[in-house]
Symmetry: C2
Subunit: 741 residues, 2 copies
């Protein structure tokens, strides 16, 4: 047996950029209960690559951000591990720190990495990026000289941007900044690994969004065959994109080296310092329109601060910029820049909240210049079926629900009677009230999916999937299976397993599990249903075509007393010596994507004395294709809008000039409190998908996308000033007011 569990504690670098001169572990090893201490040198990974987080979980020669793990202590207790970590002495030689991404882009800027060459990298958000790669995206003829810190760039074009400017009668341009925002899942990064007695197999319980992704990432980092890694399905406490594999290879390597089970659970501060939050963005948008409100030119520059590792989904943000309005002339340049900050990851609609905040704020400014109602402008210019798309695999947009959401919003009193709603509530006397509109969307991830199902001897249907249930997808799959079989949901049980034995599933992210796994489950259930009817036909001496499933039994249509229960069918198909095969269905899917859109209205009050912004009321219309589980979808909308309020008003990493994170606890990093969240009214719009189960589309990402734009537009309506920097803290609001006057 591999012995008792060891508790792991990382030692994090206090420097944002430094050379590791020496690590002295002798004091720490003397701490009672400390079992082993590993560093980048003593725990080498066969797949080591300093350009990828999962493949260089401990720094070797050079630390790249304040918070980077440089050592890992394994001990018999949490306390011993913490004591051991505190006793480790690391000598650093500080190196120049790169903090500002704009400065970092300039030729001659200090380099983020000096000792270990960066290598091509990827982040989990890259999978979302891959969904929309292609199209007109390309490397343009960049005349501008750039620093080596620029790790990626892309160029999306359509039409002739110069012709657009010539045609434009009204032009507005703005520049925006957003902050690093953390996914703030309830459960921090958490991994437990058990080695097999012979040390060749590793069973992994990880707070991870996907079994198969995790298996692959571990296998690649350690250069092990995938089948030596066994990832178990466990309930996890939230993810929002931040748990596409990070520390799992480290913990497997530690379990391998120590031949003991190992658990690593980040503290909240470690999670803020050393996980993978959403990237900071600097986005310039320039829009040109004719006087009649026709959009004719859209130019953008998207700069994503990628932190210490390449891969920040800037290109995806560029694609999002180009995916809301029909515009004949588009030119968008995207850059990812390395700095000495924590590496970034995916967070609910990666890149979309940043791009949409910039776009929708600029659209609002354009409407002001045009003197045009912002809803009418969006109805006039919003994308619709048949418009050209910047996607090689689908050059025209399918039927999407953007305009339908706008129509829904137009009818709602919060928008229709908005001029009557500008009085602040009595307790906010003296505050200014404004109402803002923004739209936004998400292209929709896809991934092949398979499912199996079984009729058990108790007459219940067991559905087996490899998904991680993060967002209530099990409930949706239950409803899909029940509908497919024709029984009540109480008779359906969703089961998971390990990466060894479940059908293939993508990771839970990209709003794609109900969308892609739903059809696989439906196909599996229909396969099983046919098998059930065939057995029933023999038992009832009837034709399959004459049978139907009602409640818990198969009945002969029109002859209610000729029936056989599903329990009986479950029994005869599993009984010793039976001549009936077990009921066992399988389904598979590989769908095209179904882009999903939302239109949001925010009513805010702003205190002109303090700059404080409060959201009073919120309306979120969203095209969900078909609402399989309306309560759960509304929950997704409530959660997404709440996170968007965080982006808009509260959340953001603050760094000093040395790259030190000043917001490394939840005392300093401001999450929205329940009192900051107003009544949120979801309006479900159903423009059926041609692919999704019963017409359903993904629902998880869109609710966060338009929020900051809607709130910024409401603040502008309230105060007449344009906030261009997220979060819109009281200080920033006051400063904007002062600059206006």
């Amino acid at each position: 047996m591999p012995g008792k569990l060891l508790y792991a504690r990382p030692v994090l670098s206090p420097y944002a950029h430094a050379r590791i001169v020496n690590i002295n572990t002798s004091q720490a090893l003397a701490v009672p209960g400390v079992h082993a201490i590993y560093t980048g040198e003593t725990l080498p990974l066969e797949g080591y690559n300093p350009g990828e987080r999962t493949k260089s979980p401990l720094a070797r020669q050079e630390v790249l951000w304040a918070g980077q793990p440089v050592a890992l202590v394994l001990a018999e207790s949490e306390a011993a591990a913490a004591d051991g970590a505190a006793a480790i002495e690391v000598d650093y030689e500080p190196l120049p720190v790169v903090v500002d991404p704009l400065a970092a882009m300039e030729p001659g800027a200090p380099l983020t990495r000096l000792l270990e060459k960066k290598q091509a990298g990827e982040i989990a958000g890259g999978e979302a990026h891959a969904a929309v790669a292609g199209g007109e995206e390309e490397d343009g003829q960049e005349s501008r000289p750039l620093s080596e810190n620029v790790s990626d760039r892309s160029h999306l074009r359509q039409g002739d941007i110069e012709a657009g400017w010539r045609e434009a009668e009204v032009v507005v341009e703005r520049r925006y900044r957003t902050s690093v925002v953390h996914q703030s899942y309830l459960e921090p990064q958490s991994i437990t690994v058990m080695p097999s007695p012979d040390g060749t197999q590793y069973t992994v319980w990880a707070s991870a969004q996907g079994l198969f992704t995790t298996r692959t990432e571990i296998a690649e980092a350690l250069n092990l065959p995938e089948r030596q890694i066994h990832v178990e399905s466990v309930p996890i406490g939230g993810a929002f994109g931040g748990k596409f594999t990070l520390l799992e290879p480290l913990v497997v390597a530690a379990a391998r080296a120590s031949r003991r089970p190992v658990r690593l659970v980040f503290t909240r501060s470690e999670d803020l310092l050393a996980a993978n939050p959403a990237p900071q963005a600097i986005i310039a948008v320039r829009l040109g329109a004719r006087r009649d409100g026709t959009l004719v030119a859209l130019q953008g520059e998207v700069i994503f601060d990628s932190g210490a590792y390449a891969g920040a989904a800037a290109g995806l943000a560029g694609f999002i910029l180009a995916s809301t309005y029909r515009c004949p002339n588009i030119d968008i340049r995207c850059y990812e820049v390395l700095t000495n900050k924590v590496g970034v990851g995916a967070y609910r609609a990666p890149g979309a909240p940043q791009a949409t905040f910039a776009l929708e704020s600029t659209v609002d400014e354009l409407c002001s210049e045009l003197g045009m109602d912002p809803l009418e402008f969006r109805l006039k210019n919003g994308l619709r079926e048949g418009d050209p798309a910047l996607d090689r695999r689908r050059p025209r947009w399918p039927r999407i629900g953007l305009l339908d959401c706008l129509e829904k919003v137009r009818e709602h009193p919060l928008w229709a009677r908005r001029r009557e709603l500008l009085t602040p509530p009595p307790e906010l006397s003296g505050w200014k009230v404004g109402i803002g509109l923004a739209v936004g969307g998400w292209p929709g991830g896809t991934e092949p999916a398979a499912a199996a199902c079984r009729l058990d001897r108790d007459g219940r249907l067991t559905v087996i999937v490899g998904t991680v249930d993060l967002t209530g997808t099990d409930s949706a799959l239950t409803l899909i299976a029940a509908e497919g079989l024709g029984v009540s949901p109480e008779l359906v049980q969703i089961e998971h397993g390990s990466s060894d034995n479940v059908p293939h599933s993508g990771s839970t992210g990209g709003s794609k599990i109900t969308y892609t796994m739903g059809p696989a489950v439906l196909a599996a259930v229909r396969d099983a249903r046919q098998q059930i009817l065939e057995v029933a036909a023999e038992l009832l001496e009837a034709a399959v075509e004459d049978l139907e499933i009602e409640r818990d039994r198969v009945v002969v249509r029109g002859v209610p007393d000729r029936s056989v229960t599903l329990q009986k069918i479950g029994q005869v198909t599993t009984a010793f010596g039976s001549r009936y095969q077990p009921i066992y269905g399988r389904g598979r899917s590989a769908l095209g994507s179904s882009p999903m859109y939302a239109a949001h209205v925010a009513r805010v009050a702003v205190d002109p004395e303090t700059g404080e912004v409060r959201v009073l009321d919120y309306l979120a219309a969203q095209d969900v294709g078909f609402a399989i589980n309306p309560a759960e979808i509304e929950g997704q909308i409530h959660g997404g809008v709440t996170q968007g309020i965080g982006w808009a008003l509260f959340e953001g990493f603050v760094y000093d000039e040395h790259g030190q994170l000043l917001t490394a606890t939840l005392m300093d990093y401001a999450l929205p409190h329940s009192t900051d969240v107003p009544t949120i009214t979801p309006l479900l719009v159903e423009v059926p998908s041609e692919h999704g189960p019963f017409g359903a589309k993904g629902v998880g990402e869109p609710p966060v996308v338009p929020v900051a734009g809607a709130i910024a537009n409401a603040v502008k309506a309230a105060l007449g000033v344009r906030l261009t920097h997220l979060p819109m803290t009281p200080e920033r609001v006051l400063r904007a007011l002062q600059q206006q006057s």
Copy 2:
């Protein structure tokens, strides 16, 4: 969390039959580390039934055998549990003990159960029984008065037995006894149960032969929904029929009551005292033949000592008696008798070693009377295709391999030159050598089975099954899957899981896993293969019909440089955004049975001074249908023959007149040692099954069936005396020699 593991230790009754007056646990509860003590009264099962072992794992009012658990101690350590168990004081009031099954059958005999009425029961061997139930089996008009201790009786008939006796010119009749024999698996009965934090779910790791059987038995004993029980697949240390669920409900109940994880592992003595060994049998056989050697009458009386619970497969033994020779007139009466001994269970070919020892010994005597060569007699009278069968579901025998095995034996030097082999080896000078022949078979269990398979991104095929791999079935399934896909076995991995997520499988027993799961795996793989070819056809721009799988890739037939690897197909069918569905196949089976036969030859030496019997040489011809994995089949034959040598010469429970087991340790219970086992020569005969995978039949049970008969016939050949009582110990051999002289 449910806390740390508790260790369980049972308290066993020292009386074979007694009333429980009082159980005093106060001393035991004071032992440091003892957490809880349960008795039949304080740990009631909702499904309590004193007639079934799994439903009455702790005695309530009455103990029924010496060794019956009356209490269970849970403690923080093994040592504390043992100390606690030793400190429990139980007051018993002894009751009359029923030991001898023949006496027990007589009207007026003391009753095995006095206080708690027995109820209809079943044992795991019952599933084998069910396989052959029906046919001519019936309750005959029993004129003979019988005690209530007789728990079951059946009557198999064919033709007119009285007419048979009238036709018979030579009649022989003998009466035989066999002993209780233990399965002697390496790992004793072992169960660990973890309750969920809310106490409603139970995860079970059991040394059990079937996931689904165990789940059902636990659910029924505790009256819980099956889906609250989660049985994990674990490697187990042997079973041979003795692990079809015994103590699992007890340990689940203890975990439920204590809200802690609980482990119970029997000591070897507990396993001998309180598991479920094979039943003792008393069998009379009377055969009648014409002078020309034609068998015309077969009469049998089969009495199985069922121990304290009903269900001992006597009817199956009767069916086995009737399933070797064509005989127009058959009359077999079978009885199961309750006594105050441990309840019995299944053991490799339940009922067949006992019945076949009796039948083949009597046939040998008949051949002597007829002056006929015993192989020629069997060739003349052995069952062949088209002969009537005592099975309602298949009234005629299919093509079986009995005669083929005999032909094979006839050619082998051990039989062909047997008259030259009667000299003892030099070191056994003075011993007598004899060579004996016996045949025997097994009807073949069947059970519905399902399987799934998946092509992974590393190009390997994962096959998912719910079987428990006891006998190398995983290897056979690997070969079947590799053959079905057209790849090397290295590319195939068999995976298991829990009762929650695997396809349905019967328990591993009855020689039916390769036989029934093999076709399901083959169907699943063929389903996947078709899917693979469809993807390859697109990738290679070729027609599916033109493709074939070679080694690790799909190639266009005749165009070797147009190919795509399975790894590539695995990747494109699981990649983010891919338009190819995952490769996921499913297969199902529900077969008719394929009876399997063996013919054995034993060459033995007997010391006329001491009565010691040594097996010098052994030949085992067996019809395996098709040898999927010859090495493993030969291993099964070696193991089965070795166990048969145990039955024949060494093993047997010995009870005193108070029902005390005198052989409760491996010092007293004599297993064969390696020096007792000669070179065993397997001869594989291949008469293809019409159902099994590639024509394969089951192979596990037959090797044990004819052994005792072959050895007894060899002893007769050596000494001229007929041994009728197993095991044939030196004492019994000497006594038989004395009686002869």
